[in-house]
Amino acid sequence: MSFSTLLLLVITTILANNVVLSQFLGICSFLGVSQKTETAAGMGGALTFVLTLSSFVCGILYHFILVPFHLEYLKTIVFILIVAALVQFVEMFLKKYMHSLYEALGIYLPLITTNCAVLGVALLNVQKDYNIFVGTVYGLATAIGYWIAIVIMAFLREKMTDNDIPRPFRGFPIVMVTAALMSIAFFGFAGIK
């Protein structure tokens, strides 16, 4: 894969094929942790860290262990266990060695295990036949796309809190309407494909 196709992959993954707004992965945390911009940014950071690492580790395990032993059918079980173990490990590591970062991200780490974007990227890497390097880059780009989307969403929700929203639309529905409008806006990027 040449540099230009890789660059194109990164840009389309971040904008046109945004993980949240067009692929619907990681919706739970996108809706749940987007009440404040700072916390949304924290979640985005934590996810970027874990997603890049997990797509790298899953890639290595898939190509060097599962494929040689013809165990591809175990990939779902193996990947989810790797993600869960990795999140636990990252949490322990940060707690011991990078305490300030742990203070900032620690609270979101357990939520990431059930974030479908992490498992989704690991599975998509296999499905699309990406090698370890491209897979890791794809993971990083996906996470950046998520980060951008959740920060924009949090920003809009902060503006929204003082508005007079019709009662049935308060909370969940108005967030979904906002997401729909954001999704339409991100559709504009489809032209760059």
Partner: protein, 269 residues
């Protein structure tokens, strides 16, 4: 729940009492009919608990996809509920989560292969969302909230009820999207030929929009009792479900993750 912070119900019991099925219908608790009615309506995973959002948004482009997704999730939910219920005395407290994940992932793998073998067309169109059933909050949520504490028969009924509720919700959302966006229902043309399909409904924004309107309708008509309470606000019912589904409800500080983070490490969402 305070007015200052409408985003959170401080007391999880409060929400539970308001939505409790027994307030409306008198059925014996933990029996099959009670569980099924509960799953379809009072604790409908999509409309009431806002769980399993990813498949709800992603696989409702057509009714056929919705049925496929709903039924495969139901099958996995019933099987994982049954096994977790049977093993509930054996699994040690500390190893709960990893064991549940392995059990669920095994059934997802089985369903993945069955669908690849018997319904290749649907397998193709659902794509990565079949293996992603592993991280569907509904399944983990039911394992944690119900199957780990109840007998096998009640757990099967609970899984079936939740699964049927999920399937119905998917079909309803998909029907609207397919009808407006494509003019068809499960592949058959329903709308008159002069109808110009509104493409946006089968695209990503349509998914958000249709679900938003449905949840708003549910909020308007369903929760009569809750609406009478002046301070009721559904905001923040989820960080993946509400307190009823939250695996960390024990030792929870009663604050949403975002607030807890702001106050340092007091709670875990």
């Amino acid at each position: 729940m305070s007015k200052k912070n409408p985003g959170m119900q401080i007391d999880p019991e409060l929400g539970r009492k308001r939505f409790e099925l027994s307030r409306y219908i008198h059925l014996k608790k933990d029996t099959a009919p009670e569980r099924v009615v509960n799953g379809i309506y009072f604790e409908n995973p999509v409309f009431m608990l806002a769980l399993g959002m990813c498949p709800t948004l992603a696989t409702t482009t057509s009714v056929t996809n919705a049925v496929g997704m709903g039924l495969s999730t139901t099958a996995i939910l019933i099987m994982s509920n049954l096994f977790i219920s049977l093993l509930r005395g054996i699994i040690p407290e500390r190893m709960r989560m990893p064991s549940y994940i392995v059990i669920i992932a095994s059934f997802v793998t089985i369903v993945d292969f069955l669908m690849a073998g018997f319904t290749p067309a649907m397998y193709e169109s659902l794509g990565v969302y079949i293996p992603l059933i592993v991280v569907n909050c509904i399944i983990m949520g039911r394992a944690e909230a119900y199957a780990g504490k109840h007998g096998p028969a009640a757990s099967i009924a609970d899984g079936a009820g939740m699964g049927i509720g999920f399937t119905i919700a998917l079909i309803v959302v998909a029907a609207v999207r397919e009808l407006l966006g494509n003019g068809t229902f499960a592949g058959f043309r329903v709308m008159p030929s002069v109808y110009e399909p509104i493409n946006i409904f089968v695209l990503a924004p349509g998914a958000f929009l249709v679900l938003a309107v449905f949840v708003a309708i549910m909020n308007r008509f369903h929760i009569g009792a809750a609406r009478r309470d002046d301070d009721w606000d559904p905001t923040g019912r989820f960080v993946c479900g509400d307190c009823r589904m939250c695996p960390r409800v024990h030792g929870c500080s009663g604050k949403p993750a975002s607030d807890a983070a702001a106050d340092g490490r007091e709670g875990r969402g």
